[in-house]
Symmetry: C2
Subunit: 199 residues, 2 copies
DNA sequence: TACCTTTGCTAACATCGTTAGGTAAATCTT
DNA sequence: AAGATTTACCTAACGATGTTAGCAAAGGTA
């Protein structure tokens, strides 16, 4: 009988609905004002129902951050299929990362704890922060003919990631006084160019 | 009569005491668990007294972040007096910035909104985020003989800041899998070297 | 002594995350 | 179909949060 299946389906529906509604609220009002009660209102159920599907609020944020990592990963995989040349691919990854951050600032903030009580850092990483692995692959592809040591290569990977993340953070948190997004992107392009030239 | 002076002095004392106690609590238990009531307990006054000295909690955090900026600024000024050569000075600034971040992670987190509801971003900047100006001076000193445009120089400044801030953020939020602090510092040194070579 | 300003407190409000405990409906068992 | 049981869901509370209204006492002024 399909009753059990229906129930499982309903339960899953509720779960994804909670996540969707939470994300919706976040996009409308920001992370700071997301509350369990608002989610409950939005899904038209009472508060405790949410705790049947998630252990606590942090678990919801965690799941949403995973969604963010998954989305980013999908985009990076697309780059990988599109660009065989490691240098082109690395440039594409940088562009993708940058665009992801500014098209989905809520995700980016949650994933890397920008301006909010961090939810994920130190937990979601190993399995889901695939950005490092993606750029690692590209960078290794570029330097494989050099005599660079393993350590040096590892350093380069973090250096590359750092420029991107640092610049995104500074811009996103309005620590920069450049408010022209074209300009900001040029800073990134410049840095990426300099970085690649120096590999 | 000195009564008024004494009162002003007492009022100021209370204010600085609140800030000191708040910072103390933060160092002991982290930003997340700082509350007005805990501050009130610690200064042995009732809660509303705090609101005689600060408009709200954010104002306290803001003031503390200013302390952070001031402390960092003092250290950078010391570099400036110590190193006349712009390249040496830039290296010193990088080292100072890095050390400041990891010796005072609470300040750094507050100043740049790492893993907490941001307090300052977009407000304290113009007057107090002097780091950009300090490295700007050093970088301009290095490139002044070149034919670099003003825009290019500006880009370099943000690029430099970005590597530092990005790497610090990644390490501080445990997004990196390098947990050897010597190693992390080497990544920074590498990046700084590459950056300077490319100026 | 009568008045007023300052100083500090108690007690409350609204909101938050979280949970205990109950009710009614849906399902399973016989 | 009727009774037993599990499930789905809700109301109401607990404790903690930031914040504020309103009062009492203390101290200076007239």
């Amino acid at each position: 009988m399909g009753i059990l299946e229906r129930k499982i389906r309903q339960k899953e529906n509720m779960r994804t609905n909670i996540l969707a509604v939470a994300m919706q609220l976040v996009k409308e009002e920001g992370w700071q004002s997301l509350s369990i009660r608002k989610i409950a209102d939005a899904i038209e159920y009472s508060v405790p129902v949410i705790y049947d599907h998630f252990e606590n609020k942090e678990a919801i944020l965690f799941e949403l951050s995973m969604d963010g990592f998954r989305l980013l990963d999908r985009l990076l995989e697309k780059d990988k299929r599109k660009y065989a040349d490691p240098e082109e691919r690395l440039r594409a990854h940088a562009e993708t990362y940058w665009n992801f951050a500014f098209k989905n600032p809520e995700y980016y903030q949650l994933m890397y704890g920008l301006g909010m009580p961090c939810s994920s850092p130190g937990k979601a990483k190993p399995e889901f922060n695939s950005f490092r692995e993606h750029i690692a692959e590209a960078i290794e592809g570029i330097v494989k003919d050099n005599k660079s040591s393993e350590d040096e290569t590892c350093f380069k990977i973090y250096a590359f990631w750092s420029v991107l993340h640092g610049l995104i953070s500074i811009v996103m948190m309005r620590c920069s006084d450049i408010d022209d997004s074209q300009m900001n992107k040029k800073v990134m392009d410049d840095s990426v160019n300099a970085f690649i030239k120096n590999l």
